[in-house]
């Protein structure tokens, strides 16, 4: 299973963290510190796997952003690498050629999208189309709720005028 997901920028800024195994606040910061030290210092053209505290960390760099997932030693590393890429492709399709800024200003969206890809540290859905369809339904629900709120607000305003 995937124990956690980390998105770290080349400068070591954290862009997303998601923990599927229980880590305390203190452990979380420690893990981030340790792993950014290891992953960011690895040169290009090396393999995408790092051994770390009895676990494997599978990572891949996209532009200035490192996507890392920590798994058990016996898990299939390439499968997880595929999950990373699948997640990136979904982000890309959702945001329309995604860049780091999209993920910074819409970090809550990134969390939401990740929840459609992984639950309990396990892979959930391999159809990009299904996920994108779902995401847009939910976006429209948020929009509708907002419009409702404004129209109710308008009505109240008109009544009280």
């Amino acid at each position: 299973m995937i124990h956690f997901v980390l998105l770290i920028s080349r400068q070591g800024k954290v862009r997303l963290t998601k923990w599927y195994s229980p880590y305390s606040q203190k452990e979380r910061s420690k893990v981030i510190r340790e792993l950014s030290g290891i992953v960011l210092n690895r040169g290009p053209k090396l393999c995408n796997f790092v051994e770390w505290r009895g676990h494997r960390v599978v990572y891949r760099r996209y532009a200035g952003l490192y996507f890392c997932m920590c798994i058990d030693e016996a898990d299939n590393e390439l499968e997880v690498l595929d999950i990373i890429h699948h997640f990136v492709e979904i982000l890309d399709r959702y945001f329309g050629s995604v860049c780091e800024l999209d993920l910074i200003f819409n970090f809550h969206k990134a969390y939401y999208i990740l929840d459609e890809v992984l639950i309990a540290g396990e892979f959930q859905e391999s159809s990009k189309r299904t996920i994108i369809r779902l995401l847009s339904t939910h976006d429209s629900m948020v929009e509708m709720a907002k419009e409702e709120a404004t129209s109710i607000g308008n009505m109240i305003a008109q009544v009280t005028k």
């Binding site: 954290v14 963290t17 229980p22 790092v50 016996a74 200003f105 819409n106 639950i119």
Partner: protein
């Protein structure tokens, strides 16, 4: 996008991004936190929208790495908001900020449950996601039934059901009892008929978790897995959206094959045939292509197929096909494939018959030891370590030694430990072993633990033909201007003991030996000085006739240390000084150290412990354990004349196996190896276990071997050569070697250790090792006894009876009458505690080996503390209780003077 409208949040993020330095950022964040805190305080005036905005801000700040110790309540409370936008935020932020142990989560259980059983599909999804991501035990107990219902409901849409499957998986991990095996097995099989591949993928993950604990209940799923795999591998009827770079869901393929690896075998011939056809197709049909993503996906499937083939123990032909593939992989340019090639080759070593094919790739593997990527270097080291045996030990160890000088620090410790273990396990001759260890100390002294040099001293002491060789080597190293302190220790010790054997050679006179050792004296720390003092005393004793000048020099040193603040040094100095004036008695007391009793190598033990520690519930590990015994039989290179039955080898049971190996290679030398002329009775029992036997014993049983009789302290003491009772005691086993089977280690100590931990060795003797692994839950417990036969012959008339005290109900499953050679049998034992008591259950265990009947009564570590459970008590509950304890006899107080 959705952020339109949350301008405050965007502005805040921009502000933080515009900060010039960390200090500014902190100020900006603190300001915002202050703001959010005040807004939360007068919550009444907060609109849902504002609340949502602040909760997002908190998550952002938290992600930046700042401590956010408030507002959790607000996040949790948003979960119960009636509208989707707020509810969604509540769910997502709660799942990010809190972990499963957080108290606030408990408050949300009811709301979450209502969302799960409610009619709103979107809310169901949110709730299932939260529980799936951070649900703990309590969630498992209160929600599992509802989640199961959703998963099998025909009215739920796939998007809810796939989440329910993974949510149930999480709950099952937290508490396996929430899935009732009897009822669920059929349902699980039905789930595998699912048409929707999203639901099928999630269900397959669930199945993997279920079968990893109990494959027997889920036999009916096996043919369905094979069908699914066939359908995917042949790309039959797979919707376009479920292919990834042209490959039908690689994830589902991988998971299906993973599930299959938990079934011990595929019995039905038809199913087996179709499975092998599919695997063959995957193995042969995967090419390396240009597109890296396609490559990753196809190889993810390929490597899983390899693992499955290994597990199924396919025909030799298919195996060699696999090894050939791996051989190709470890030489390709793509680093991921190289890495996985090495890793899978290491796993392949567990499979019989392929070691020789793997050995053909040795040169390539050694090249990988110099790869620019440390991950790959580590894999190569692991593989070399695993594939090493008597035939290639020399090459591999020398390669490791050479690499040691250039290896990065992160790897040196592991590297030197592995080199030391291999040298000991597979030494073709002992002088080579001494060479290797001395080189190791020379090149990486900092990483050579005391165990390693103690071990060398033991070998040299126990093998007389090695002593002068070792002394000459030690002398050579002392010539170097700067040497590691460990080298000083080992050289001084060896020269003190055996330097006199070379006294006739130039440069080895007592005076010269003393001078060269004493040259290092100013550079060493206090831990080395006692060893130097012993060496001096020994040199003095060996100086015949006495040389007054040398004597005076050494006496001056003793005198100087007689007032040393370190007790050990002071005592040695004073005693040696007094003794050296007594003449004859000096000769007796400082005589050569007796041979060490046979003991398991501390190093190998340590390595095993480490392996046991990292053992995890995984297909590969389980498999490794199942197959360990066969693997060892194959690597057991013990030649025929090393067989226990041969009387001439009897004395060798006191010496470690490498000397046996020497013997077997130069049979003519046998007399030299044990020239002490002691006549040994022929022992009806085989000699105590050899190293390979040790390895079998402890690796196949999951507990760390007990370390009682061979505690490191005693090793230190003896190795340092202090005249002591321990030395005398060390001789006892030599004289007392009798026909009865003696336990290895202290049974009591082992029992006490097991009272405090849940896995380990309960009992061990030369023939059998009994390990225990236990799980406890409230008043119930499940122990598994691992009975491991260490011999190459079967153990017969095996009987295990449980004598439970009245307060325990115990049920032991059937114990087989015979344990095959080098096999391990597992016997589960169920325990139920009826009331508190300090009585202990006893295992009456007996077996027959050859003519000898062995019977032992062992206490079982099902003691009271195993049934205790922690409870959480709030201060309101605790203090009244605490205060009610007033005065004797409930509360006693006493003032003690120190």
């Amino acid at each position: 996008m959705a952020l339109s409208g949350m301008r405050g949040l965007s502005v805040f993020i921009s502000d933080v991004r515009n900060c010039q330095n960390k200090e500014q950022e902190r100020l900006r964040v603190d300001k915002e936190l202050g703001n959010v805190r005040t807004r939360f305080k007068n919550e009444k005036g907060l609109s849902p929208y504002e609340k949502k905005k602040y909760v997002w801000k908190m998550l952002y700040i938290y992600m930046l790495g700042y401590d956010v110790d408030f507002g959790h309540m607000e996040a949790v409370s948003l979960i119960s908001a009636p509208k989707y936008p707020e509810k969604q935020v509540g769910y997502i932020v709660t799942a990010c900020l809190l972990n499963e142990n957080h108290d606030f989560l408990r408050l949300a259980i009811n709301t979450v449950r209502n969302d799960i059983i409610g009619r709103n599909e979107t809310f169901q999804c949110l709730a299932l996601t939260l529980v799936g991501n951070i649900g703990g035990r309590e969630f498992a107990e209160s929600l599992a039934a509802d989640v199961q219902k959703l998963l099998i409901s025909s009215s739920c849409r796939p998007l809810v059901r796939k989440k329910a499957a993974l949510c149930l998986l999480r709950l099952y991990r937290k508490n396996p009892d929430v899935v009732n095996v009897d009822g669920w097995a059929d349902r699980m099989a039905q789930l595998l008929d699912e048409r929707d591949l999203g639901v099928l993928t999630s269900s397959m993950s669930l199945l993997v978790a279920l079968v990893s604990n109990n494959h027997e209940a889920y036999w009916s799923c096996l043919p369905k897995c094979v069908k699914t795999l066939e359908r995917l591998a042949r790309n039959q009827d797979i919707p376009q959206e479920y292919t990834y770079y042209g490959i039908p869901s690689p994830w589902l393929q991988v998971k299906t094959m993973r599930a299959l690896q938990y079934f011990p075998t595929v019995e039905d011939p038809n199913t087996r045939r179709s499975l092998f056809e599919v695997l063959q197709r995957i193995l042969m049909g995967t090419d390396v292509v240009k597109n890296v993503n396609k490559n990753n996906a196809s190889h993810a499937v390929l490597f899983e197929a390899l693992a499955l083939v290994m597990h199924l123990d396919a025909e030799k032909e298919m195996m060699s096909q696999c090894v050939a593939l791996l051989g190709k992989f470890i030489a390709v340019r793509e680093p991921n494939i190289r890495y996985l090639g090495l890793e899978n080759m290491t796993r392949m070593l567990m499979v019989t018959d392929v070691q020789d094919i793997i050995k053909r790739h040795q040169a390539q593997i050694i090249t990988s030891l110099k790869d620019p990527d440390i991950s790959i270097r580590r894999r190569a080291l692991d593989l070399l370590y695993g594939m090493c045996d008597v035939s290639n030990a020399k090459d591999i160890v020398e390669e490791l030694l050479q690499y040691l000088s250039s290896a990065d620090f992160a790897m040196r410790e592991e590297l030197s430990l592995k080199a030391a273990i291999l040298a000991e396990k597979f030494a073709p001759d002992l002088s080579w072993y001494v060479d290797v260890i001395l080189q190791l100390i020379d090149k990486a002294g900092d990483f050579v633990s005391d165990d390693i040099w103690f071990r060398v001293v033991q070998f040299v002491t126990n093998n007389e033909d090695l002593q002068s060789y070792a002394a000459a080597k030690a002398r050579e190293y002392l010539n170097k201007p700067a040497i590691h302190e460990t080298m000083v220790k080992v050289s001084a010790y060896i020269l003190g003991e055996y330097g006199h054997l070379l006294a006739r050679r130039p440069g080895y006179s007592p005076k010269e030996l003393f001078t060269i050792i004493h040259e290092k004296h100013p550079t060493v720390s206090t831990s080395t000085i006692p060893i130097l003092l012993s060496s001096y005393a020994k040199i003095l004793m060996h100086t015949q006739p006495p040389e007054p000048e040398l004597q005076n020099q050494i006496w001056t040193i003793f005198n100087k240390y007689e007032s040393c603040i370190d007790v050990e040094i002071q005592q040695r100095a004073a005693e040696y000084f007094a003794l050296s004036r007594k003449g004859a008695s000096l000769m007796d007391i400082l005589a050569e150290m007796p041979k060490f009793p046979e003991r398991q190598s501390a190093l190998i033990r340590k390595a095993e412990d480490a392996e046991v520690d990292t053992a995890e519930q995984s297909a590969i590990k389980l498999r490794a354990q199942q197959q360990m015994s066969t693997a060892l039989v194959v690597t057991d290179q013990r030649p025929p004349n090393g067989m226990p039955a041969q009387p001439s080898i009897g004395p060798l049971s006191l010496v470690k196996v490498p000397s046996e190996t020497v013997d077997s290679q130069n049979p003519g030398d046998q007399g030299l190896t044990h020239p002490n002329g002691v006549v040994y009775k022929e022992d009806p029992q085989p000699p105590s276990q050899d190293i390979i036997g040790d390895l079998l014993g402890t690796l196949s049983i999951e507990g760390p071997p007990g370390a009682v009789a061979q505690s490191p302290q005693s090793a230190t003491y003896e190795a340092e050569g202090a005249p002591s009772a321990a030395d005398a005691a060390a001789l006892v086993p030599v004289g007392e070697e009798s026909g009865s089977v003696q336990p290895i280690g202290n049974i009591n100590e082992r029992f006490y250790a097991l009272c405090l931990k849940d896995s380990g060795v309960l009992y061990e003797d030369p023939n059998i090792q009994i390990g225990i692994k236990a799980e406890w839950r409230a008043h119930q417990g499940r122990l598994v006894l691992f009975l491991g036969n260490k011999n190459t012959a079967s153990l017969g008339s095996v009987q295990a009876l449980i004598l439970p005290p009245t307060h325990l109900k115990m049920e032991l499953s059937l114990v087989p009458e015979t344990i095959p050679p080098r096999a391990q049998v597992q016997c589960p034992l169920e325990v139920m505690n009826l009331r508190p008591s300090r009585d202990v259950a006893v295992l009456d265990f007996s077996y027959k080996f050859g003519p000898t009947m062995v019977n032992v009564k062992l206490r079982l570590p099902a003691v009271l503390n195993k049934f205790l459970q922690p409870i959480t008590v709030s201060p309101e509950e605790f203090f009244p209780q605490w205060r009610s304890l007033s005065g004797p006899p409930l509360k006693l107080q006493e003032v003690v003077c120190i």
